[in-house]
Symmetry: C2
Subunit: 768 residues, 2 copies
C-alpha cells in the first residue's frame, strides 16, 4: 500500500498545479525579469519573497550555485530534524526564554523554511509539515484569551507581547504563501477565517497602540498584517498595513512599557509607508543607532520585498529616494574593522554584518539594484544567503565575483527625519577608525553622550564605548532585560568619551530634555587623504555652558601611524569642574607624572550620575602643562599626549562599584579633571605606535614617536597648538567659530603670525 | 673594466675552491647521506649546521621546495637591507634594550644569515659583509675591558653578561664557518688569534662560574665554545666544551644573580654532555617548565647539529635515550589548543610552537629521525623552516605531506633527573585540556603551586594559571625584568588553583624548602577513552598537614561536554583554615547562594603571602552542603558545582591590590574557605556547557545540565560522591590510599554497599 500513497496524493492535489503561471520570457542574467503586473501576481503563489517564476529559475539551476546549494542543504537538515521530532503547539504560558515562547518561535521559523523547501525541492513532506502545524494553530487560536502574563502595553496571544505575535505572522505568512497551492480551498478557508484574519485583526484593530505608532513595533505589525493580506489577497487588511488605522482613538499622553510616547508630535499618518517616512533620517540613519537599526530594518525589508512583487506601482525600493538602500549602506559603514557595529546607545557589542538581518538586507538590496556591486563583497564575507530569489541572485553573482575587502569610507550620517538632528560621523585613516556622535538623544535607547567618540583599529576597540549593560536573551542576567546599571551607569555621560561638566550627566540625564535639543555640526572636511577633521557644538547639554569637540585624524609618513587628536572646548558663565574621561582598553605601562594605585582600599568615585559605579584606583596631580600616558592593550602600545594645567587631576578608575550583582565589566578609565574654570581647552592626542609579539618577545616601537604637545592659543576664535617628534614639529591651527571654508584667518602671538585659509591648517616643520 | 672584476676575484679566490670536497654519492631521497667520517668533515667547510654536501643538495633543488624558497627570499630581503645600511660595531656600553646591546645582537643575527646566503646563493657580497664585520670586531675586541655595566655574576665584554657574549659566538661561529673558504689564510689566522680564541677563553677559563655549571647559561657557553672549536678545528677548546673545565676552583657556597647556587650538589661533571645528563628529566621535562625549556633547548639543538656532523661517534641525537627528541615532544605536548605553552612557573603567556626555538627543534628532530612524522604536522602549522639542511629536509617533505592537526595526547612527564621529582600531567578529553602540576620546585623560576591545575578548551584558558608578573623586553615595565609582584603575588600559592592552608604559601614560600621535597604520584590511569584520572600527594608543603588532589576528566554522551572534577583532601594534626582558589576567567552570571559585591569600598584580602594583592569584592556564607557558580567567559557558559559545609565562606576577589604601578591584571578569583578543621574534602566539578553567539544573540545551554552534587563518604581510605542531571545520576568512588590497580574495595554506608576494583569506579544510573 505504502508506495501508492504519493501517487494518490498527487492526484488529489493536481488541482493546485492547474493554477495558470505567467509565461517567463527567457532573458539573460543581467536583465532577469524581477517584476510582474498585479494581474500576473494575483493569479499565483508563492508571491511574497518567493515567486513562482523565481522558484522556476532557482529549480532550473540547482546544483550550479554553490552558496545557495549549501544553504538549501543546511535548511533541509534543520527541517528534516524538526519533522522527525513531530509537531508541538503548546498552550501559550511563558515569558521570553520560557518553554512555550521558545517552541512557538521555533515553529514559525521552521514553517518558514519548510515552505521554501517545498517550493524549491517539490517534496510534499515539507508542505504537509506546514499544513499539519497550521491545523494545530487554527484549532487552538480561537480558544486563546490574551497571553496570561499580561506584562506588556500590548499583550499578545501566542506570546507575551504583540511584537512576537507579529514576528510569528511575518514568518508564517510566507510559509502559508508557499503551500497555498498545496492546500485545498476548504483548508485555506478554514485557516483564513479562523486563524489569519482574526490574528491580523487582533494585531491591528484590537491593538491600535501597537499598530498605529511610528515605531519598530508597529513596523513589525504593519509588515505582519500586510504580508498575510497579500498572501490571502485581502485588500482591506493590506490597506490598513500600508496606511494605518483611520481612527485609532489614542490619546497623545499615552506611553508604552519603555516610557516612550505612543504618538509622535507632528506626525498624523500611520502604517508602513509612514514608517518609511519617519523612521530614518534622509541618510538612512536611525536615532537609536546601528544596533537597533539592524533590528528595525528586517520587517521593512521583508514586507518591501513582497510589495515589490505585488505592488510594483509603489516602487518601494526607490521610496523616499531609496531609503532602504541608504539604511543598508549606513549599517555596513557604521561598523569596525571586524564588521561589528559601533556600540553607541543601548547596544550589545559584537552584533555585526553576519546577523540574519544584514544577510537579508545585503541580498535584497542587491536584488533591488545590482549596480550596487559593493554588496557582493559583503555577501562574500557573510558567506550565507537568504533562501529566496534575492539570495539566489546574489549567490549566483558571487560564483563569478572576485571578492575583495569591502570598501569603507569616512562619512557623515545626519540624524533626524529632516536631517537636522546632528549626526554621527565615521572617519577612517590608514590604521584607525574614529566614530563621532553628536546626534539626537536616540529616544528611550539613547545615552547622554553628545560629542563622544570611540576609537578602533584593525583588530577592534582601542578607546571603547561601553555599550549597554545587558546580556540579550541571557536568562541569568535579569532574563536578558536591561540591567539597572544600564540606566545608572551605561547611559550616563561619565561612561563615555565625552565632556562632563560638574560631574553631572548631559541634559540632567533626562530623555525628555535630551530630545528637546541637538548638537550641531560646525564644519567637516573628509576630502583630504591625509587629514580628516570635524567640529561640532552643543550649547544645551549643560546650563550656561557651551561644549565643542573637534576631532582630527592625520596620516603622515613621519608619524608612527595614524594619529587622532581630540580637542575639547568648554565655555561657561559659571566656574565649573570639567572631566574628560577616556575609556582606554588595556593596562597602564608608563605615565609622565607620578601616579600610584591606592594600595589597601578602593572607594567609589562619586555618589551619582554614574560616578558611583567607578572605583577610584588613583588620584594624581599634574604639575606641568602637559602629560603623557602610555598603555598596552590587544598586543599593541598606545600613548595619550595631553595638554594640561599644573594642578589638574588625573583619576585612574575602573568600572564595578555599586554593582551588587557583578553586572559591570571591570574596565579601566582615565579621567582628566580640571576644577573652577569658566573656559577650558583640552587637547588629547592619541598615537597607536607599537606592537608586541609573544613568540619573539620583541616589542616594536613601545614608545611614542611624539615627544611633546603644547597649547599655544586657546581663545574665542582660535585654537592653536603644536606637537613634535625628534625630527619634526607640527603646528595645528583651528577656527573655533568661523565655518566658512574659504575664510582667511590671522592671529599674532609674541610676534609670531599664524595665517591660514579655511577651517584649519596643519603645518609640518622639519627640525634642524 | 667592471666586467672583469668578478673574473679577477674568482682567480684570486680560487685557492678556496681547491679544498678537497668528499665525493657525495648520488642517493635517493629516502636514504640521503647525512653523516660523514671525521676525516671527510675536517677537510671542508661549512661543517656546523650547514655542510658542503648539504649546500650542494640545497642548491641543486632551489626553486622546487616552496617553503624553503620563501624563507630564503625573506632572509635575502633582510640581509640586503642590512648591507645597504652599512656596518656598525660600537664600543659596548648599554644594558639589554639599549643601543649598543641591540646593535651587537642584530650584528650576529645578520652575520649568521649572511653566511648561509653566501653558501646557498654563492653571492660574494654576503661573504664580504661577514668578513668586513668580523674585521671590525677583531680590531675592537682585544681593546675591550669587561663590560662597564658590571651587573652580572659573569659580566661579558660585548654585552652586559657572558650569556649574551655566548649567544654572539653561537651565531658567529656559524657565519665564520660559512665564509671560512672565502677568507685567506691570513684573515683566518688574524680572526682566530685575536678574536675567536681569546673570546672562547674568556667564556670558559676566565669565567668558570659561567662555564662550568649545570644551567642553561653554561649550555650556551659550552655550545658557543664548542661550535667555534669545530669551526676552527681546535680540539682543546672542543674538549672543554664537551667535558667542562677540569679544575674550576668554584666554592660550593657561591651563587648567581638570581640567588641560585653555582654548583649542584651531587654533580661533579660539567660541559655539554653533562648538561644533557642533568638538565632534563628522563621524559625530557625541564623543572622550570615549558616556557624555560623552550629557551634552554636552543643551544642544545644547535651544538648537537654540529656534533652530529663532526663527531658522529657521539651519536648525539640518541644520547641519553634520545633526550632531545623527548624534550621536543614534551614541549609540543605541553601546550594548549592554540599551541601556547601552559604558563606554569615563571612564564610569559602566549609563547608557543611558533617561536624560533621550536622551529629549529621540529626541523632538527625530524632531520635526526624522519620516522617521527608527527613533526611534519607541526612544521606545517609553523609554516617557517630553519635555513639549514634540517629546514630544507622538512620543507621538502612538507611539499608532499597532507597536513593534519597535530595529535596531542594525555601524558605524564616525570620531573627530576632520575624521574623521581613528581611530574606534570596533561589530560585531554573531547573538549577540555587539563594541566596538573606536582613537580619539583622548578629552581629560581618555580612557583609555590604543588597540586595546582589549569583548565583549557578549544579556544584557550577557562581556569587560568596567572603566569609571571613580567613583560619580557618591555622597557616601560621594569626594563622587562621580573616585577616585584612576581615574587609577592605570582609565585605565591593563593595565585594558583591549588590548596592553601592557613593563608600561607606552600613551603613557607622558600625556594630552598621547596627544593627539599617533592609531591608524589599516587595513581593515574589515562588508558580509558572516557575517564582519565590522576591522584597525587604532598606531605611537606605545610607543616603537619598532608594534601592530596585527584583530578578526573569525564566524557559521557549524557553530559553537556567534557567534565572536570577536582577532589582536594586535607589532613592535618592541627585545626587549620583552608582556601581553595579558582582563577576563573570571565564574569559571574549566577550563584546558588546569596552573594552581593561590596558597593562603596574594597579592601585587600590579607596582608601577606599574595593575599595583599587581592581585592575582596564579596564575602558570602554558604548555608547548604553544596553550591554552584555559573559564569560567562570567552563567549561560553561554565558552571562550578561544589560540595560544602554550611558556614563555609565564598570570597569573590580580584587581583590588583597593593599594586602601585598597575603591574597586575585585573583578573577575578573565587575562593572557597573553610576554617577550623583538621580534615576536609572539597569536590569541585566544572562543566563547560554553553555558548553564546553575538550575531544571533542566542545562548545555547546557558545552564548546567548537572543539578546537584553530594558528598557521601570522605574518610581516610575512600572518597565517594555523586552528582546528577535530570535524567542520570553518577556515583564516583575513589581510593584515597591504596594504589593497587587490582585491589578490591568495599565500603558500606547506611546499608548501601559500594564495591569496586582498582583506583576508582564511575557508576552511571538512569533515573526513572
Amino acid at each position: 500500500m505504502k508506495s501508492i500513497i504519493p501517487v494518490i496524493l498527487c492526484f488529489i492535489l493536481s488541482s493546485c498545479a492547474t493554477t495558470k503561471l505567467p509565461t517567463i520570457s527567457q532573458t539573460s542574467d543581467s536583465s532577469e525579469k524581477t517584476t510582474y503586473t498585479e494581474e500576473e501576481m494575483k493569479s499565483q503563489h508563492p508571491r511574497l519573497s518567493l515567486t513562482s517564476s523565481g522558484v522556476q529559475k532557482i529549480k532550473s539551476q540547482l546544483g550550479s550555485v554553490p552558496l545557495f546549494d549549501k544553504q538549501l542543504k543546511e535548511a533541509k537538515t534543520l527541517v528534516d530534524n524538526a519533522i522527525s521530532k513531530g509537531i508541538i503547539v503548546p498552550i501559550p504560558k511563558d515569558m521570553a526564554g520560557g518553554y512555550t515562547h521558545e517552541v512557538h518561535k521555533s515553529n514559525y521559523k521552521i514553517m518558514h523554511k519548510a515552505g521554501r523547501l517545498y517550493q524549491i525541492t517539490g517534496e510534499e513532506k515539507y508542505a504537509d509539515y506546514v499544513k499539519q502545524m497550521l491545523m494545530e494553530y487554527v484549532v487552538m487560536y480561537p480558544t486563546l484569551p490574551v497571553h496570561p502574563t499580561n506584562r506588556s502595553y500590548a499583550t499578545g496571544k501566542i506570546f507575551w507581547q504583540c511584537l512576537n505575535d507579529a514576528n510569528w505572522m511575518v514568518f508564517t505568512s510566507q510559509a502559508y504563501d508557499c503551500i497555498y497551492d498545496y492546500l485545498t480551498v476548504e483548508d485555506r478557508s478554514k485557516l483564513e477565517t479562523n486563524l489569519f484574519i482574526p490574528f491580523a485583526n487582533f494585531l491591528s484593530e484590537e491593538n491600535p497602540r501597537f499598530f498605529n505608532r511610528i515605531h519598530n513595533h508597529s513596523t513589525w505589525a504593519n509588515a505582519a498584517v500586510g504580508m498575510m493580506a497579500l498572501a490571502m489577497d485581502n485588500d482591506t487588511l493590506l490597506s490598513k498595513a500600508l496606511y494605518g488605522l483611520q481612527n485609532d482613538g489614542i490619546d497623545a499622553s499615552e506611553y508604552d512599557n519603555d516610557g516612550g510616547y505612543i504618538k509622535t508630535e507632528g506626525i498624523s499618518t500611520a502604517g508602513f509607508l509612514a514608517q518609511l517616512d519617519y523612521s530614518f533620517s534622509p541618510d538612512g540613519y536611525f536615532a537609536e543607532g546601528p544596533y537597533y537599526l539592524r533590528y528595525a530594518i528586517f520587517p521593512f525589508l521583508v514586507f518591501s520585498h513582497a510589495l515589490h512583487n505585488n505592488k510594483p506601482e509603489l516602487d518601494i525600493f526607490n521610496y523616499r529616494d531609496g531609503i532602504l538602500k541608504k539604511a543598508t549602506n549606513t549599517l555596513l559603514q557604521l561598523a569596525d574593522s571586524q564588521g561589528r557595529f559601533f556600540p553607541i546607545n543601548d547596544a550589545q557589542k559584537g552584533m555585526s554584518y553576519r546577523s540574519y538581518e544584514l544577510v537579508d538586507a545585503v541580498d535584497l538590496m542587491y536584488y533591488a539594484d545590482d549596480s550596487q556591486d559593493y554588496l557582493l563583497d559583503w555577501a562574500a564575507k557573510q558567506n550565507v544567503v537568504a533562501l529566496n530569489e534575492a539570495g539566489f541572485k546574489i549567490a549566483k553573482a558571487l560564483a563569478s565575483h572576485e571578492a575583495a575587502e569591502p570598501q569603507k569610507k569616512s562619512m557623515l550620517f545626519r540624524d533626524g527625519v529632516e536631517g537636522d538632528g546632528g549626526a554621527v560621523a565615521v572617519m577612517r585613516a590608514s590604521n584607525l577608525e574614529l566614530l563621532f556622535k553628536f546626534s539626537t538623544q536616540g529616544m528611550g535607547h539613547g545615552h547622554f553622550d553628545r560629542l563622544s567618540y570611540s576609537l578602533y583599529d584593525d583588530v577592534g576597540e582601542i578607546i571603547q564605548d561601553y555599550g549597554a549593560v545587558r546580556w540579550v536573551n541571557v536568562d541569568q542576567k535579569g532574563g536578558g532585560r536591561y540591567l539597572p546599571e544600564n540606566k545608572t551607569f551605561g547611559k550616563q555621560s561619565i561612561a563615555h568619551n565625552t565632556i562632563v561638566v560638574n560631574q553631572g550627566s548631559q541634559y540632567e540625564g533626562s530623555v525628555q530634555k535630551g530630545e528637546s535639543a541637538n548638537p550641531s555640526l560646525l564644519y567637516m572636511d573628509f576630502d583630504n587623504d591625509n587629514v580628516k577633521i570635524i567640529s561640532a557644538k552643543d550649547d544645551n547639554a549643560y546650563a550656561n555652558t557651551s561644549l565643542q569637540k573637534t576631532l582630527v585624524l592625520i596620516d603622515d609618513k613621519d608619524l608612527s601611524g595614524s594619529l587622532m587628536i581630540d580637542i575639547s572646548r568648554i565655555n561657561s558663565t559659571d566656574q565649573v569642574s570639567i572631566d574628560i574621561p577616556m575609556w582606554y582598553l588595556g593596562q597602564k605601562m608608563k605615565t609622565s607624572f607620578e601616579c600610584q594605585k591606592d594600595a589597601q582600599q578602593l572607594s567609589a568615585l562619586g555618589e551619582t550620575n554614574g560616578y558611583q559605579h567607578i572605583w577610584k584606583e588613583a588620584s594624581c596631580k599634574i604639575d606641568e602643562d602637559n602629560y603623557s600616558f602610555n598603555w598596552f592593550g590587544n598586543e599593541k602600545f598606545y600613548t595619550l599626549h595631553s595638554t594640561a594645567l599644573a594642578g589638574d587631576e588625573i583619576i585612574m578608575g575602573r568600572a564595578g562599584a555599586n554593582d551588587p550583582n557583578f553586572n559591570l565589566r571591570s574596565d579601566p578609565v582615565l579621567i582628566h579633571r580640571r576644577e573652577g574654570v569658566q573656559n577650558a581647552t583640552f587637547i588629547n592626542l592619541i598615537e597607536a605606535h607599537g606592537t608586541y609579539n609573544r613568540d619573539t618577545e620583541v616589542p616594536l616601537y613601545p614608545y611614542s614617536i611624539i615627544k611633546k604637545i603644547e597649547l599655544i592659543i586657546a581663545d574665542e576664535n582660535y585654537t592653536i597648538f603644536k606637537f613634535s617628534s625628534e625630527k619634526h614639529e607640527w603646528e595645528v591651527m583651528l577656527a573655533n567659530e568661523n565655518n566658512q571654508k574659504t575664510a582667511t584667518h590671522n592671529k599674532v602671538l609674541d610676534g609670531k603670525e599664524y595665517t591660514w585659509n579655511g577651517y584649519y591648517n596643519l603645518n609640518k616643520i622639519k627640525k634642524d
